[in-house]
């Protein structure tokens, strides 16, 4: 019991913002177990537990002729691509190309004007967001949106609750199912926190976590819903190069645990380094859909990112 007290006390000590020992204030001294560039070891209990009907390499998600209009503005115009089980698909494009809109349509925030999104052949159209999440589409947010007053652990358990079946009366009287689910969720949530590398912060309020830990917590929370497809919306925004390396390793290990990943990202280095296939959007239209190496050399993609040299001016 004494040990437990000390642990609680140790957990409650505030995280130092700047480590006087290091010159770079961005380096987070409170996260000793993340080694840059090295994949975290596979953690027991973090692997995907979902039964997925589709075989590895087959189409898991199909985006079919997806069109979204906001009034007169066509944010997405007849975009089609598919995501195969077990791959990391990159979704890139210049600002305003419609990447996040595509995400929002897939996760039920926006209703497609036309077209459809199929998860294992089932349409997500017209379903509520929480139903889509339970179908197996989980996401993180571009601007971090954690439940600030909850601890890191509780944040993850909210994600786990998506798979729980205790009713309100069941929770009121502490039914056997409730007790079983509560017990198992602690283990699973801690395994997920350990997997993303922030287990030592499990008892901290999520708003007290450092920026990097918050981003990782978002990923853990999304993984907790046990998604068939994990959608990451610019997970590396605001990261320095070293942290981006760590994140690439994490994304790879997420795939190794059996998840399929859709990644929106601006940073070309990260996208090229981690994805298996890339879809490029520009002005709401699909520009290219190919392997990273081919995308890198695609003149249309280069033009979209760097602009076309105007010969007649020269």
């Amino acid at each position: 019991m004494n040990d437990e007290n000390e642990n609680l006390a140790a957990d409650a000590t505030p995280e130092p913002v700047t480590d006087p020992a290091s010159a770079d204030p961005i380096v987070d001294a409170a996260e000793p177990d993340i080694v840059p560039g090295e994949a975290p070891p596979l953690v027991e209990g973090a692997e995907s537990e979902r039964e997925i009907e589709v075989a590895v390499g087959e189409k898991l998600v199909e985006v079919k002729n997806l069109t979204i209009r906001f009034g007169g503005l066509t944010a997405l115009d007849d975009v089609s691509f598919d995501i195969r089980r077990g791959e990391i698909l990159g979704l890139i494009g210049p600002n305003g190309a419609g990447k996040t809109t595509c995400f929002n349509a897939m996760t039920g925030v926006y209703r497609p004007t036309s077209g459809d999104v199929l998860l294992e052949g089932q349409s997500v159209k017209g379903r509520k967001q929480h139903q889509i999440t339970r179908m197996g589409l989980a996401r993180t947010f571009q601007n971090i949106r954690l439940f600030g007053e909850m601890t890191a652990l509780e944040n993850v358990v909210v994600g786990l609750d998506a798979r729980h079946r205790t009713s309100v009366p069941g929770a009121l009287v502490r039914s056997p199912r409730h007790i079983r689910e509560e017990r198992s969720s602690v283990d699973r949530a801690m395994a997920l926190l350990d997997f993303v590398g922030i287990a030592q912060h499990s008892q901290k309020r999520s708003r007290d976590l450092s920026y990097g830990s918050q981003r990782r917590l978002e990923i853990a929370r999304a993984l907790a819903t046990d998604p068939k497809l994990l959608c990451l919306d610019e997970p590396a925004a605001g990261f320095n190069p070293a942290e981006k390396e760590d994140l690439m390793a994490l994304i790879r290990s997420i795939r190794d645990e059996g998840y399929t990943v859709l990644l929106i990202e601006h940073d070309m280095k990260l996208v090229m380094g981690v994805t298996d296939r890339i879809v490029v959007l520009e002005f709401g239209k699909k520009l290219a859909d190919d392997l990273p190496a081919a995308i890198r050399d695609d003149p249309r993609v280069i033009a979209a990112y760097l602009g076309v040299p105007e010969d007649d001016v020269a």
């Binding site: 007053e149 998506a162 929770a171 070293a242």
Partner: protein
Amino acid sequence: MSTSSDGPRPLPTAEAAREAIETESVATLRRGPFRGLRERWNGLSRPTQWAWMLIVVVIAYAMPYLNFFPLSTAPGNDWPLALFAMAVYALVAVGLNVVVGYAGLLDLGYVAFFAVGSYTAAMFTSPDSPYLKIPYLWTLPLAMVIAMIFGVVLGVPTLRLRGDYLAIVTLGFGEIVRILATIIPAMKGQVGFQNVGRPPGEGPNGIPIFANSNGTPWYWLTVTILIIILLLAGNLERSRVGRAWIAIREDEDAAETMGVPTFKYKVWAFAIGASVGGLSGALFAGQVGFVNNQKFDVQTSILFLAAVVLGGTGNKVGAILGGAIVAYIPLRFTAVADYKYLIFGVALVILMIYRSQGLIPAKMRLMAYSRKAVEWVAPPKVPRGAEPPRTPTPRTEGGAS
């Protein structure tokens, strides 16, 4: 419900967001005079906590006998009756706390449920009412059920609204119930119902134990109910229900995206809050023995809300304290009773400036077995200095260069 996703929101640059988060996480580290106390409390083992709570419960039951100078409301007001009023307010605050504190739904018409409970008790027990009569104690669960139905009826159409809009609708609902009590003949407006029932039992001299003037048994009954409600609320808090509510309060869109059926849980919060409000209304009606339309005005609603905010939004212990204080002050200091709204108003303004979380801003425990999680983190940690410093790689511009 596609109000605000992260699409249309003006987004600062990622670096700015990062800076804001780093600054905030320093600024909001837990502070306050009770900080050490709370950590010590959380560090205690569960049996030790139960032992302390038992002592508090014993003191609570002994309160009617602690009738001495600085504490007691005598001679201005009867002390046991004052205690009963405090207990009822505490119960109301606990119920309202579920709605406002947990789920973050601002309810300005909570008195409506209190009224529904009062009228249920009155109309099923008073000889002035032409309807079916049932024993008083049965009206307590009945009042809960009826208030709950009202909660669902109000919640289903209105809980699609958010924030201020919801507050305005609930404010209107509070008024509707009061006005209905005035204009529906069966509810007898200002004339009201006399001789509302009471629990059975008579003393040796033939006077009922639960006489209107005898506050002690009423107080004990209410404290007993309050304890039961607290235990049940605690069960909900440390379950997916509590987590769903807090998630909705913190970020409704994110909660929905994480698989929380937000609408369903908001209606549950409304229904559960309403049922506790109805229960306290029925207790109040039983003790006073008379119900008419005068007591259920907007001011009372605001007073209930003040109790929750004063004590600490989202914390049931705080709600009890807030409810008790709001009832106690006007009864203890009768000279200032007429100025109670002024006093609470000033107190709340001061509180919002210096201690915006309320008197007891404790963080809720939202998991039944979170102690287990502590075992996960291995105690021996690498000392901070021993860690090899990260070599920051030179910053390169991203993009296809």
